[in-house]
């Protein structure tokens, strides 16, 4: 989630940047010009989704859509989220600039990993059956992003349990909603563009199809 400036230790910030740099490099390497409209649209959706916020108890939460990005973009979710988060930080001071690395990593890494874990199931399933793995990716990505955020705060000397409970509790409804959205999206995509949800960003597949 969006951690503000001045709350994290230097080591945690550095680790976040390292993960984000690696993920972004991997994502850019796998990006073809054909991927670009899709990446840009999802980055825009992610950019706007974080602005729709719901007050919940003593905290508040917003849609993240990282699961959906993981399923459709694979590792290319890293550059997409990085650009969107950068603009949010600059235009709305939503999250800091030094924390950009950590904020990108804690949302992109869970998404990419969950999508990768469910990839084979999604690829093999029929469109209707693919709702369940889609739901899992959507919900788990949000849950793990929350845990990563709490860990980053905890490793910087803050109260991990307090952060974790607060974030987790606020995001349970979001997990459900995102699970449903991702599940529905995967079903739709399996029907319309079956190769898409299973695509890990390996460009050689496109070259094989073209050749």
């Amino acid at each position: 989630m969006h951690i503000a400036e001045g709350l994290l230790s230097g080591t945690v910030l550095g680790a976040g940047w390292a993960v984000t740099a690696a993920g972004t490099a991997a994502g850019l390497r796998r990006m073809t010009p054909e991927d670009v409209p899709r990446t840009a649209t999802l980055a825009s959706a992610f950019f706007v989704a974080s602005l729709v916020h719901v007050p919940l108890g003593i905290s508040s939460a917003h849609l993240i859509l990282n699961g959906l990005m993981g399923v459709i973009l694979g590792v290319r979710a890293f550059p997409a989220m990085l650009v969107a988060l950068f603009l949010q930080a600059v235009l709305f001071q939503f999250g800091g600039l030094s924390t950009l690395g950590v904020n990108t990593a804690d949302m992109a890494l869970p998404a990419v990993l969950c999508a990768a874990a469910m990839r084979r199931w999604i690829r093999r399933a029929s469109p209707g059956q693919s709702f369940v793995p889609g739901f899992v990716v959507g919900a788990a990505s949000v849950a793990l992003a929350g845990i990563c955020t709490a860990s980053a705060l905890g490793l910087s000397g803050r109260d991990f349990r307090q952060a974790g409970t607060l974030i987790f509790a606020a995001h349970i409804p979001i997990m459900v909603v995102e699970g449903l959205v991702t599940g529905a999206a995967v079903v739709f995509l399996k029907r319309v563009r079956p190769e898409l949800p299973g695509d890990a960003g390996d460009t050689s597949r496109f070259e094989k199809e073209a050749g």
């Binding site: 010009p33 959706a45 602005l51 007050p55 905290s59 508040s60 603009l87 949010q88 607060l166 974030i167």
Partner: protein
């Protein structure tokens, strides 16, 4: 057939974006804010999320402008707090929530009353008081009324400044497409110059 499917995909994406954009004026960025004014011998204020809901039961630390800790208070169930200050000076208030939100605001020394005894109740002008005492009382009364009136305006100004504007959102989306468009341009030049011979 391919074209129809591609249009369907594009239509879905456009619809998704339009839905999200339509919600922007109603809900807002995910940031926490602190509003505070000084009056008399204390600072009072409240903390809120950009959507308007209050930040309840969270700690607010008070510092001098050179970083010394003056004290700490907590927002109540309405997100409000009050803090007694040792004397008129510039103060910095910092709110930090355990889930990674942080907000700051400063209260200038001008907000506070100069060091004097407690404000007496405004009394009608007595028949033979000393002139300077009358003026001092009058000043306090005026100051109190003005603070009360200005506070509403200051709150509205604070909220206005924090609002997420639709044109910023649209600008952001434009930048996103611009960045990725440039990326596509660079990528396509690279693949063209490294074109593999036919038959690979």
């Amino acid at each position: 057939m391919q074209l129809r499917m591609r249009l369907n995909g594009a239509a879905l994406r456009a619809a998704m974006l339009a839905f999200l954009l339509a919600n922007v004026p109603a809900s807002w960025a995910h940031k926490v804010h602190v509003f505070a004014v000084g009056e008399g011998k204390s600072i009072s204020g409240y903390a809120y999320f950009s959507g308007g809901s209050r930040v309840r039961r969270m700690p607010v630390k008070v510092f001098t402008t050179d970083g010394r800790v003056v004290g700490e208070t907590t927002t109540d169930d309405k997100g409000e707090f009050r803090f007694e200050i040792p004397g008129p000076a510039d103060y910095r208030l910092v709110l930090e929530t355990p889930d990674g939100h942080r907000a700051e605001t400063t209260v200038p020394a001008d907000d506070f009353a100069p060091e004097e005894e407690d404000r007496p109740a405004p009394a009608p002008p007595a028949p033979a008081p000393e002139r300077c005492l009358q003026e001092a009382e009058l000043e306090k009364v005026i100051d109190h009324c003005l603070t009360r009136r200005l506070r509403t305006i200051e709150e509205r100004l604070d909220r206005y400044e924090q609002k997420v504007r639709l044109h910023d959102v649209i600008g952001g989306i434009g930048y996103i497409f611009g960045v990725f468009g440039l990326l596509a341009l660079v990528q396509s030049k690279r693949t063209r110059s490294a074109a593999s011979p036919p038959g690979e």
